[in-house]
Amino acid sequence: MKISRHFTQEIARVVIGVAAFSTLAVMFWILYQVLREGLPLLHLSFFVDPPREMGRAGGISSTIIGTLALTVVAIVIATPLGVGTAIFLREYTRESRISRVIRFGTDCLAGVPSIIFGLFGFVFFVIFLGMGWSILSGGLTLAAMILPTIICTAEEAIKSIPYSFREVSYGLGGTRWQTIRRVVLPNAFPGILTGVLLGVGRSVGETAAVILTAGSSFLMPDSIFSPIRTMAVHFYILAREGISMEMAYATGAGLIILILIINTVANWLLFRYVHRG
């Protein structure tokens, strides 16, 4: 039997349409579920009050601070390392033994489950280096976890810059660093930002590695050596220990709003950057 070209065309259209629609449907279903349960509980006081009675009452202020602090530490450590590695791979070496070793290493790192990073962070930062459960231990652990993502996206961004731009810069008397600083990095910035945002998303959402390295204390931290509880961990503990499903949903809704804010700010930054001058 011969199937007409028109028929296969129709089938392809339907299959692809269903795929796209299901993706959207799943996403909206999750959002709807969490927001329906959580939104009614969100008041300003929920964001500015610290948790009370193990989280049964009060707000989530200290967990918001904890989440932000941990993410900032992770990003501040991982971004320069990751972008530096990507520049090294693209601008300072050709395909060589050293670049293959680095790439193999990052590929392996990218596939390691987060709990293994947590275990490593616990053994190395918390115990061996004596940092204890703290923002610093957790941030360093998360930095190691998101490093492969940042290296990979930054390398792709740098790779996509035309060779002719570099040739022009060198041709006008630019040194390698001047060329990187004035041509490569500015043009790679949007791509690098995408990688950093993926890293932010992973840091904000991580639980297992965070519990092992930053602890789960919901007291307000006073330095980067204090233990903290992130919103994702708070959500996990509230739900897992059956403390309060309502508060868990409210925390989940707050987490979603936080991520929306971060993405909006990043998009606005990107827009400003692309349409500058």
């Binding site: 570099r166 040739e167 041709g171 006008l172 004035r182």
Partner: protein
């Protein structure tokens, strides 16, 4: 070194890996004239240009043998500063390559790398360079808009202006008119004729007609070899070599 020559090339060869791109080249070029580098595709023209400002250094696996002197200084010798050399020997590529920044910043790019920072000084350089490249009148009201919005011909003149902003001694233009309309081509040729009063110019012409219009001397290259070199009226009317004649009369190319 003979003083009447700006550039002296001796037994110069370039390899990409094991492929030879330039073979045993001996050539001397006088100052303040237009030297046309003529030849079909893959004859070593671009390699010759990129050897003169050592942009071949960027190409992985490129190697050279022999010597090139500019004003008597061996450019592959020790203690040669590459940024310094590339400021003296400016280059315009075959495809217009405006950097994704404003017109002003494109021109100011080279001077800024050199450490010139004053706004007024940069403004003067930008105006002078754009005027010399016959682009000033078209863009003077939108210096701070993106250079990518210029037309192809304007972008190529922008590249010429950007090169001139560094006040080089030697200008190298690799098919600067490929892909341009006859009007833009004519305006670029006009600016070349006025630029040769001050500069030594190496031009890879877009076609034989262009070479005969603007060049003082012509070198004909084939397969990485210089077949013959001489004053342009001689090359175009009575070439000594059969291959040159065949190429010029359009039998191959």
């Amino acid at each position: 070194m003979e003083n009447q020559f700006k550039i002296v090339i001796r037994d110069f060869e370039v390899y990409y890996g094991s492929a030879m791109a330039l073979k045993g080249l001996n050539l001397s070029i006088r100052p303040r004239q237009i030297f046309a580098v003529l030849g079909p595709a893959r004859s070593g023209k671009t390699t010759l240009l990129k050897s003169l400002n050592r942009l071949t250094d960027l190409i992985f696996g490129a190697n050279h043998r022999g010597q090139i002197f500019i004003d008597g200084q061996e450019i592959y010798g020790e203690n040669v500063s590459l940024p310094e050399l590339r400021r003296r020997v400016g280059m315009v590529f075959d495809l217009p390559t405006a950097l994704p920044m404003s017109i002003f910043e494109n021109i100011a790019y080279g001077p800024r790398l050199k450490g010139i920072a004053g706004r007024t000084r940069l403004g003067e350089i930008v105006e002078a360079s754009l005027t010399a490249a016959v682009l000033w009148d078209e863009v003077k009201d939108r210096l701070h808009s993106s250079a990518l919005r210029l037309s192809g011909g304007q972008q190529q003149r922008l590249c010429i202006a950007r090169m001139l902003a560094l006040e080089p001694e030697i200008l190298m233009l690799d098919e600067p008119c490929s892909g341009l309309d006859p009007i833009s081509t004519a305006s670029i040729e006009r600016s070349l004729m006025s630029l040769k009063e001050k500069y030594t110019i190496l031009l890879v012409p877009h076609n034989i007609q262009q070479a005969s219009r603007v060049a003082d001397r012509v070198g004909f290259f084939l397969g990485g070899e210089l077949i013959e070199e001489g004053p342009s009226e001689e090359i175009f009317t009575r070439p000594r070599m059969k291959k040159t004649e065949d190429y010029i009369s359009g039998r191959f190319g």
